[in-house]
């Protein structure tokens, strides 16, 4: 093959459920790998919060919407001769197919590298995939389409029972089901046929309860094939692998079974002709205790059977996990192999001596647990199944299963939930019915709870399908719990407990001590963790990579780094409110430290990220981000000479500030004190008052009477929130007394000890500033203006740089406040200030809403649009270099000529039962950036990239709250003028009709005739929804069905008129073409 000289890499776009930070990790690795080969890389991605879109990773960077039109323009401009589509997740693959089908690749002579287009199609299209596997003799679940119960019964002869029945063309699989007996099959098929719109159902062998295994396979052009890792899902078949708890390597497979699946993996990757990495999923005969209930036909087999379930012909979430679990850099090697390199020509960068053509041997066990968003979305349906719902994941490494799983639980950061946690309601019911043992986010805890209550192995296998091996391991954890409850702590018991992964905190709870006492006595007994290396080879060769995990063994391999060093505390799993942005910051901080000769140490628990790549920092500790593990690491490195940086890892790192402060440990940059002033309501009030900086009037109340009196003074609307939760959680805007009382009753019921905060809700323009402070001077790279008014969480708002609707005076005031706050707080590093501008009779006032003396989620965006390397400046300030010493100075950075827009991206279609209206609680999972020389271009691209753009024609369903009707009128007129059809609910339709515009009324009363609001969404009569809400809970419920329908039908749904306003602006400008330029062109201006 001719080696390409210029390769286009497609990124995966915004973070959504199912496509998270792993593609920044793999894409960044790939770009660097290609550059090493002397190949020019051109990268396109719409997500600014990525390392891959930074200077120095790819040669040429485009931050543009990921559409065929945009990529064709890039191909025209750059003339690449290769396209690498396998590193940008499903987005990258789909785009590659679209580009190929449109003839664009052929036209421009772009060769697809790694995975042939036909292979992508073969793997994606169910029937093609099946044919291919049958052709090469690999078993796939037998299935057939039937039109009658009789036909279904005939299938039992050929396929056997159990069977799964899936009606065609119904959403969410309604009307299907599993049949374990003939009678069940009759009933399920009958029901399925009734639900099916086409009078047919698919009947397939049911594999629920089978073991689920994944292989990561790699192949090169010389046809050398290797497998990197085999992962075993604890949750058996039936739960999406992304939502399963997974261990590596496989635990319950004999070598015979392992080799059977390994050989199959190699046959499959050969048949697919992939050059690079690939993920293959298998189902395997379950243990008899499971088979008895789930797969009776597997009870009498002599040898295990398997089925091939799925192939991902690309790097994936699993390959990122496998890379971190083994140390084998799959994306890097995939990129090199795609350009024609052979595996035995690529060095193994971990050992430095051996080659990439080997299979990792590991001498530890890895556990991965998904991180679900149900702490934020309490109304969401927590059941997990075929649709992935997790936003992120954690990984933990241990020398025992018990320690790996317990460490992973600690890494999840779900409040104080150790494995000891149980919901008090579970045990109230008789037997085990109260325990949510079906697949859901709490199953792990329920499982331990039910075991504690005495459930039998047989019942556990029957209900969960989990292999008895794992159940026995969980029982080991419970045995130790009992021991800790029963016996006096001794060095022997402590040692045994630590080897099973019990945290000091759990031991403290069980042994009735304080965690600090446990820590002290543990250290007195000399029981401290050692750190072992992840080296790909089980110590057979000396490793060069400093990638460590803790364990309780005898030999420590992580000798303290002797040079000047600092520890960057990472941000843990990706979750709503704490996304990839913080990992971005941690990575840059580590690099900045290295630039000034300070050795960087990263601590993190997230396997998807760039920060946990073994060559990002000088040393990586793959560990939970809690007090115990961070302090242990600091002890290992020498606590007094290992200052911590807590500013970049989001709330996770901030939460470490107090424990570290209490332990008198050193910080780099501002520490706990500044954070406390900002977070403690009373101190913050006093602080701003002393500076003479206005903030919205408000007070903390502890009773309803007090609240009503405060409310009378302030006047409605009011912003109410509990004082003990951060980040907009459980915040609400109330418009009258009834709503205020309802909120307070709920809030005080939950917690009567902490006050509820009531603030005047200022209806104004929300603005935001990220700044860098060296203690004396404050550099403000730029200001952002939010499109949605205050009350919508800043993370869910569209933000515009530079603040184009702001007066110079307003910007000066923002600069002044930020500077004074930064200096007065003594910030050394980053600070984020959120403000609201209220304009009244030509006067404008700026109020400070919130101050965060740390990195915010807009730092990557602002760094990109201003060109100011914010994290690097901040990190070097922490190390003692002032702004001036770094060639910068305080004040407002020069405004770029470009316009940058950050737009939120949601994953709502995947979260059943979650309301998607914009409010004070953050809901988005990711972000995109639109950038151009002017506002309309940037806006259009931001909206396209975030799927918020209106289609060019069609009809819009409007359901607008009375309060908003006046404001909405001009927008409705514009929709009409632009040629959109109008559908509207009762009141809104009346308003539109009164203005003489044509409108079709659809009822929102779902029980009163058709077509109702849901009908028009589902039959595609309408192509977007505008639905604003009143504050009342009833109205929320009312519109909920409409909003969910829009989300599930994947059409835009606007719940804020502010968003609609800018969408209309973009529509009016859509005649004008937008630019597609390199990032440097936007930053430096057109030459």
């Amino acid at each position: 093959m001719e080696r390409p000289s210029k390769v286009l890499v497609i990124g995966s776009g915004p973070i959504i459920i199912g496509q998270a930070a792993e593609f920044d990790y793999s894409g960044a690795q790939a770009c660097r790998a290609l550059r090493e080969e002397g190949i020019t890389t051109v990268l396109v991605n719409s997500n600014p919060a990525t390392i891959m879109t930074d200077e120095g990773i790819a040669d040429v960077v485009y931050i543009e919407p990921l559409t065929v039109e945009v990529i064709e323009k890039i191909i025209q401009k750059e003339q690449p001769d290769g396209l690498l589509p396998t590193l940008g997740g499903q987005t990258g693959l789909n785009l590659a197919v679209e580009l190929a089908d449109a003839g664009i690749l052929d036209k421009h002579g772009v060769k697809v590298l790694g995975t042939p287009i036909q292979t992508i199609k073969d793997a994606e299209e169910r029937s093609l995939f099946k044919q291919l596997l049958i052709r090469i003799g690999e078993p796939v679940p037998e299935s057939a389409t039937v039109h009658s119960v009789a036909e279904a019964k005939e299938l039992v002869q050929t396929i056997g029972l159990p069977l799964i029945v899936r009606p065609s063309y119904t959403l969410g699989g309604t009307g299907g089901g599993m049949a374990y007996t003939m009678e069940e099959l009759e009933a399920v098929t009958e029901n399925g046929l009734a639900c099916s719109m086409s009078g047919e159902v698919l009947v397939e062998r049911c594999l629920a309860g089978w073991k689920e295994l994944e292989f990561e396979v790699m192949r090169d052009a010389a046809d050398t094939c290797i497998t990197i890792c085999c992962m075993e899902n604890i949750d058996p078949m039936g739960v999406h692998t992304g939502d399963s708890i997974v261990v590596a390597p496989s635990q319950t497979l004999t070598d015979r079974e392992y080799q059977m699946l390994r050989s199959a993996s190699i046959r499959i990757i050969r048949a697919l002709g992939i050059e690079g990495g690939c993920n293959i999923q298998f189902a395997l005969t379950p243990h008899p205790m499971v088979a008895k209930h789930w797969a009776p036909d597997q009870l009498d087999v002599q040898e295990s059977q398997y089925y091939v379930i799925e192939v991902n012909p690309r790097v994936s979430r699993s390959s990122a996990l496998a890379s971190k679990a083994t140390g084998y850099p799959i994306a890097r090697v995939t990129a090199k192999v795609a350009t024609g390199k052979r595996l035995d020509e690529i060095p193994n960068s971990v050992t430095g001596k051996t080659l990439a053509s080997f299979e990792p041997a590991i001498d530890y066990i890895v556990a991965k647990i998904p991180r679900w968003p149900f702490d934020k979305f309490e109304m969401g349906d927590r059941v997990t199944g075929s649709q992935m719902k997790g936003t992120g994941e954690v990984m933990a490494i241990g020398r025992t299963f018990e320690s790996a799983i317990q460490k992973a639980v600690r890494s999840l950061e779900v409040g104080k939930k150790t494995l000891l946690w149980e919901d008090p309601s579970w045990s109230k019911e008789d037997g085990f019915d109260g325990y949510p043992l079906y697949p859901n986010d709490l199953r792990l805890w329920a499982l331990l709870g039910a075991l504690r209550k005495g459930i039998s192995d047989d019942d556990m296998c029957r209900i969960t399908g989990i292999d008895p091996w794992f159940i026995h391991k969980f029982r080991n954890i419970l045995e130790m719990e009992k021991k800790l409850l029963g016996v006096e702590l001794s060095p022997q018991v402590m040692w045994a407990a630590k080897r099973l992964g019990f945290s000091d905190e759990s031991i403290a709870v069980l042994a009735d001590r304080l965690p600090e006492q446990v820590r002290t006595v543990r250290k007195q007994w000399g029981i401290v963790p050692v750190y072992k290396t992840v080296d790909t080879c089980a110590a057979e060769f000396a490793a060069e990579t400093p990638y460590f995990y803790s364990t309780y063994e005898t030999e420590n391999e992580a000798e303290p780094i002797p040079d000047r060093k600092a520890v960057v505390i990472g941000s843990g799993p990706i979750r709503i409110g704490q996304g990839i942005e913080f990992d971005y910051c941690c990575v840059h901080s580590a690099w900045a430290l290295q630039e000034i000769g300070i050795r960087s140490i990263i601590v993190n628990s997230n396997p998807e990220t760039v920060s946990t790549d073994f060559d990002t920092s000088d040393r990586l500790y793959f560990e939970a981000l809690d007090e115990e593990s961070v302090r242990n690491i600091l002890d290992n490195e020498g606590a007094e000479v290992s200052p911590s940086i807590v500013q970049f890892g989001g709330q996770t790192a901030i939460n470490m500030a107090w424990p570290l402060q209490r332990a008198n440990l050193p910080f780099f940059g501002s520490g706990a004190e500044a954070i406390d002033i900002a977070e403690d309501r009373r101190r913050f009030e006093d602080f701003l008052e002393r500076l003479g900086i206005p903030q919205p009037p408000g007070a903390g109340v502890t009773s309803i009477e007090e609240a009503l009196s405060v409310a009378r003074n302030l006047g409605y609307p009011l912003l109410v929130r509990p004082s003990y939760v951060l980040g907009g959680r459980a915040m609400e805007i109330v418009y009258n007394e009834t709503e205020l009382i309802r909120y307070l009753v709920m809030a005080l019921d939950l917690d009567s000890r902490h006050p509820v905060l009531i603030d005047k809700y200022l209806l104004g323009k929300e603005v935001e500033v990220d700044a860098i402070c060296d203690g004396e001077e404050v550099l403000v790279p730029g200001v952002m203006e939010h499109i949605e008014r205050a009350g919508v969480h800043s993370g869910d708002s569209i933000a515009v740089y530079p603040g184009i609707n702001l007066t110079d005076e307003e910007v000066q005031t923002m600069l002044d406040y930020t500077t004074r706050i930064g200096v007065a707080l003594g910030v050394r590093g980053l600070i984020n200030v959120q403000m609201v501008i209220v304009r009244h009779d030509g006067e404008s006032s700026v109020y400070v809403l919130e101050v965060n003396p740390r990195s915010s989620r807009t730092v990557p965006f602002m760094s990109k649009v201003t060109g100011v390397p914010m994290v690097r400046l901040a990190t070097k300030i922490m190390a003692g270099l002032s702004l001036r010493e770094q060639g910068y100075r305080g004040g407002l950075w020069k405004k770029s000529r470009l316009v940058g827009i950050k737009a939120p991206v949601f994953s709502m279609s995947k979260l059943i039962g979650v309301d998607n209206y914009l409010g004070p609680e953050m809901k988005s999972t990711g972000e995109v950036m639109g950038i151009d020389f002017d506002l309309p271009g940037a806006l259009t691209k931001a909206l396209i990239a975030s799927n918020l753009m209106l289609p060019s024609k069609g009809s819009i369903l409007l359901s607008i709250a009375d309060r908003d009707k006046t404001e909405a009128l001009p927008m409705v007129k514009r929709l009409h003028e632009y040629g959109y059809g109008l559908h509207a609910t009762e009141g809104t339709a009346a308003m539109i009709a009164a203005l003489g515009m044509p409108v079709q009324m659809v009822t929102k009363k779902l029980s009163e005739g058709h077509p109702n609001v849901l009908d028009v969404i589902r039959d595609s009569s309408v192509h977007a929804v505008v639905n604003t809400i009143t504050g009342g809970r009833l109205a929320l419920k009312d519109g909920f069905a409409i909003r969910r329908a829009a989300v599930e039908h994947r059409i835009p749904c606007y719940t804020s008129l502010d968003t609609l306003q800018v969408v209309l602006d973009a529509v009016s400008a859509s005649g004008r073409p937008y630019n597609v330029e390199r990032m440097e062109t936007y930053l430096n201006g057109r030459s």
């Binding site: 080799q259 035995d344 051996t354 080997f358 089980a538």
Partner: protein, 364 residues
């Protein structure tokens, strides 16, 4: 509470752990294997005779012991060293725990020790003799060790070899089966199974079988099996092989490969810590393709000593050692690694088919 056990190395290093398996003492060369599955196959592999086997994967015994995976009639390793052994195995084929199995076979085990630290020691100092005991104090163990014969001194293959000839059941395949004489220096079940699957009729003979006797058996080819120990002890095989070279298609695996090389006059030497694992990359020099192989050997063929006509056909990509030999004139297939896997990858099972082809060509 578990019984205490000690592993004491020749250099005095002592590891304290928990005893499992037989409560006895055992002396052997301490080696480590990096395979993550296949402990039953490894334990019963005769090539581990005379050795105390350390498994680098920490969780061993997860799927118990079954009736189908033994590679020979009994456990061959002299002791097993693990981080953790599983008391509650989970597999439908499992009939007993690892602990019970070792107890029944009289083989001691030690669990709970930092096996990675032990592996690193062996890697840097090289393999050494050790004692695994639940009966002696470390000091007593060290004294016993000094009195015991070294690994090199022992003629382990002779012990592992069959005492008498035996044949595999006749093949019922349509075509004329190839008859293979398998010279048993410590053969694994996996090899006879693979030969049978390739349509061969196998006669297994003791390693001291003479060339005359082999000719008498009128085989289509001879396979010299793997086995334990230093090939230096097996000059009897070397001399016998000299008489057969060139006349019959010959396949050598592992120790068999070393013996064939020696028969040609090449030299063998001891590796620092051997190759034991299922992930060793080997390049087929002719095709450039890389195979992941199972390896289990402590000695290797010295490529500088190869006589004219003998060339390196396969190379280990980790350390460049000789992994296979071919001959300019003779029908020879000689590999240092285990084409049969058992445990380990099946990538190289095609070599058995190649051997059959070689025999068919020679016969026609």
């Amino acid at each position: 509470m578990d019984d205490k056990a000690y592993l004491v190395l020749e250099d005095g290093t002592t590891y304290e752990g928990n005893a499992f398996g037989a409560r006895t003492s055992s002396c052997g060369e301490v080696v480590f294997d990096t395979s993550m599955t296949g402990y039953q196959e490894m334990l019963t592999d005769p090539s581990f005779a005379g050795q105390l086997l350390t498994l680098t994967y920490p969780l061993i015994g997860n799927y118990g012991i079954n009736a189908i995976d033994d590679q020979s009639s009994h456990v061959q390793a002299r002791g097993l060293i693990v981080r953790e052994h599983c008391a509650s195995p989970s597999h439908f084929q499992s009939s007993e725990t690892l602990d019970a199995y070792l107890t029944r076979q009289g083989i001691p085990g030690i669990a709970g020790i930092d096996t990675r630290s032990l592996t690193r020691r062996l890697r840097s100092s090289g393999v050494m003799m050790g004692v695994l005991t639940s009966e002696m104090t470390p000091a007593e163990a060290l004294r016993a060790l000094h009195a015991a014969p070294s690994y090199e001194e022992q003629d382990l293959a002779a012990e592992a070899s069959t005492d008498s000839e035996w044949a595999t059941p006749p093949q019922h395949s349509g075509r004329n089966p190839m008859h293979v004489v398998l010279l048993d220096c410590g053969v694994k079940q996996g090899i006879t199974n693979h030969l049978a699957a390739a349509g061969c009729q196998v006669t297994v003979v003791p390693l001291w079988t003479t060339a005359d006797r082999i000719r008498e058996l009128a085989p289509d080819g001879v396979l010299v099996s793997p086995g334990p120990g230093d090939p230096l002890h097996l000059s009897v095989v070397e001399e016998m092989m000299c008489q057969l070279l060139g006349n019959l298609p010959i396949m050598g695996i592992c120790l068999g490969h070393q013996l064939i090389a020696r028969a040609f006059g090449a030299k063998t030497y001891k590796l620092k810590f051997g190759h034991h694992g299922g992930n060793h990359p080997v390049r087929d020099v002719a095709t450039g393709r890389v195979y992941i192989t199972t390896q289990n050997h402590g000695y290797a063929v010295d490529d500088a000593s190869l006589p004219d006509g003998l060339t390196v056909s396969h190379v280990n990509l980790n350390d460049g050692t000789v992994e296979g030999l071919s001959h300019r004139d003779y029908p020879l297939l000689s590999i240092q690694y285990h084409a049969e896997g058992s445990p380990g990858p099946k990538d190289s099972s095609y070599l058995f088919t190649q051997f059959v082809d070689l025999m068919q060509q020679h016969a026609s």
